[in-house]
Symmetry: C2
Subunit: 254 residues, 2 copies
Amino acid sequence: MSELVGRYFDAAIAHLQRVRTEEAGSIEAAGALLAGAVAEGRRVFTFGSGHSSLAAQDVVYRAGGLVPVNLLDVPGMSGVTVMPAPLSSALERVSGLATTTLDLTPATAGDLLFVISLSGRQVMPVELAQYARGRGLTVIGVTSLAYPGEVPSAHPSGTYLKDHCDVVLDSKISVGDGELTHPAAETTFGPVSTIVTSALMQAVVASAVGRLADAAAAGTGPTPPLFRSGNVPGGTEWNAKQMADNADRVFYTY
Amino acid sequence: MSELVGRYFDAAIAHLQRVRTEEAGSIEAAGALLAGAVAEGRRVFTFGSGHSSLAAQDVVYRAGGLVPVNLLDVPGMSGVTVMPAPLSSALERVSGLATTTLDLTPATAGDLLFVISLSGRQVMPVELAQYARGRGLTVIGVTSLAYPGEVPSAHPSGTYLKDHCDVVLDSKISVGDGELTHPAAETTFGPVSTIVTSALMQAVVASAVGRLADAAAAGTGPTPPLFRSGNVPGGTEWNAKQMADNADRVFYTY
């Protein structure tokens, strides 16, 4: 194995070990909020822009994932499917998009919103989190607290995503999101943000499923609503029943 | 930290350690193909359906990523943004979509295609890889070799993605994609596939960047074309220049 590839895996693993230890409390706090929202029949949404959308999508309509988790999909912002690709970053700087988007969802006070933004400094995630909390939603932010100390906020208030959350999960990704260097490469490379952010989101879901299952075992709550893989026998039929059973808070199918 | 969350991180880390060791040769083989394609001015595409699209998107238009890597975006299949969400899985079973999609790209013999499919058993990834190789493209598959032994192929030939690739990266994800169990949960949960698949893709890119940078340092090749973060000073301008310099093989902007 080349030295760079070895260093890449070392960096990813070290980063996971670090958030495993240092974010344990935040993961449990977020897991408790998610379990509570599911148990109480609340609506749950996840949002991220550009590559931050990948971890948001990773917990939606997902084998081993909770059924009542919906993607807050803003056209042009979810991943890198928009043409031209820079439009995704440009939309993050447009004021008014967050409020318009949230107003068109059925989210109301007491519902739960995950906002994922690596830098946490752009207009969209700041405005979305701020507006959602103003409407009484509970907001969990997933962001890197390395950015606020090094890069100015692009929001007029000067605040960051972290300033508008009930719980913050710190991905601790370095500014620039590159773990590797090479003398003949003009910038850092080897980003680990998707790995770490996805792990944080999945860890929160695991915590929530555990809490719901504990309650179910104790007879104080329903069985956690989980998807199975569509690639195992009976999975598709199981999933269809799960979506039907949770139809009042599943917004990604008819 | 709850025991489940600890087990989730343990599983993710153990899985990364395993592919780091066992897939080292495949990662280097894929990295050499990617570096060669970039150095020779070839077109490079990545494809995945549903959640397998997340790792495909993770290496496109990406801080620390190679500029000439394009997403083969099939509407309704990239991530979980389509409504209804089950349409993404349904489209994977439609024969003819792969050939139609590839015919509408500028990809020709000698170009490079990454096909990501966790199960590797659906019509779309099998047909896409098979057709691409028939057209002379080089195909790198990222899939779990746990599936072919346990779940039948959905392709009429009975073959899997792995059977139509020049290099296969085995994510080794268990059938069902859940690392955790709980007596009161009706299915496994805690999926690590996005983490592991993203790590494999990023490791391949790191290997390729290293090879290109080595050649640049030796004076036998150009500097690797890398994106910077748009959230660091000068990043946006740097990225615009990179896209302009590689305009003949960048298909995600004007």
